[in-house]
């Protein structure tokens, strides 16, 4: 099908590039944001980017082990979100703030 310069199908390396870009954006959000919930969401973005790599390699190798692995990553992310949000709730109850710079007891 003629789509100008766009090929009919893209190679797997494009998927891996997208995964790397999303991971870099997650790292950026993790480092730049000051809201503890946004920092936590950046971690989820990084996990998603890695999952895309797993599924892409699964396609390249024609095995479904990558799918199983990304399934386990999802499960661990669910457990992590439950515990992490409970910790955020406790921190907010104790300190009435969500700014990560104001929660620095371990620093001193």
């Amino acid at each position: 099908m003629p789509l100008g310069p766009l090929p009919a199908a893209v190679p797997p390396s494009w998927y891996l590039t997208l995964s790397a870009i999303l991971f870099a954006l997650g790292v950026l959000g993790f480092l730049l944001r000051r809201n503890i919930i946004t920092v936590f969401m950046s971690i989820e973005l990084m996990l998603n980017a890695v999952n895309l790599s797993f599924v892409t390699f699964s396609y390249v190798l024609k095995r479904n082990d990558g799918h199983i692995f990304s399934f386990f990553v999802m499960v661990v992310a669910a457990a992590e979100a439950a515990v992490g949000l409970a910790i955020i709730l406790t921190v907010f109850k104790n300190r009435q703030t969500l700014e990560i710079d104001e929660v620095s007891s371990l620093k001193n």
């Binding site: 090929p7 870009i21 959000g29 989820e44 973005l45 396609y59 479904n64 910790i87 406790t90």
Partner: protein, 166 residues
């Protein structure tokens, strides 16, 4: 057609990812993350991961993000403070980031050998039947350990959340 679909969903994912980092209100970031997850689910489908795509939508975009939005609403999280950006980072940050992304793309294209393009339907190992077969034969022990992990996470979350402030 496959390339067009990849382009559309990759663009959605990257734009939503940038929006997640740029937005100052947590709710906007959370909705952007839902967009990233939905686009990634479509990409999983293109790669032949039917089960993973469904699980992505149900577990991530459904359960985990609802938990996030629920906590944001519960804590009434507002806009975060404006961060201090030095002029160097303000004007050179975005160009350097684009150069970095270009380098990543170039490296991956160089390292990976030229493989056949991704065609929808070429890989059939990602159906629920195949995943279930692997999960209950080769990966049985990790699967069972995962159930213990989930149990511990539930108990930990309950213990943490019901602790009274003294």
């Amino acid at each position: 057609m496959d390339a067009l679909l990849f382009m559309i969903f990759a663009a959605i994912a990257v734009i939503c990812g940038i929006n997640l980092v740029v937005q100052t209100h947590p709710i906007s970031s959370a909705l952007s993350l839902v967009g990233v997850m939905g686009a990634l689910a479509a990409l999983y489908l293109l790669l032949g991961g039917e089960f993973i795509a469904a699980a992505q939508l149900v577990v991530y975009a459904g359960a985990i993000m609802v938990l996030f939005v629920f906590v944001i609403m519960l804590l009434n999280a507002g806009t975060e403070k404006k961060m201090v950006v030095r002029p160097l980072g303000k004007y050179l940050g975005a160009p350097f980031l684009l150069i970095f992304f270009g380098m990543i793309a170039y490296m991956i294209q160089r390292i990976l050998p030229a493989s056949s393009p991704v065609v929808f339907g070429a890989f059939q190992g990602g159906t629920a039947a195949e995943i279930g077969r692997s999960l209950f034969t080769v990966y049985l022990l990790p699967f069972e350990v995962t159930s213990v992990l989930i149990l511990i996470a539930i108990l930990g979350a309950i213990v943490l959340a019901r602790k009274e402030v003294d």
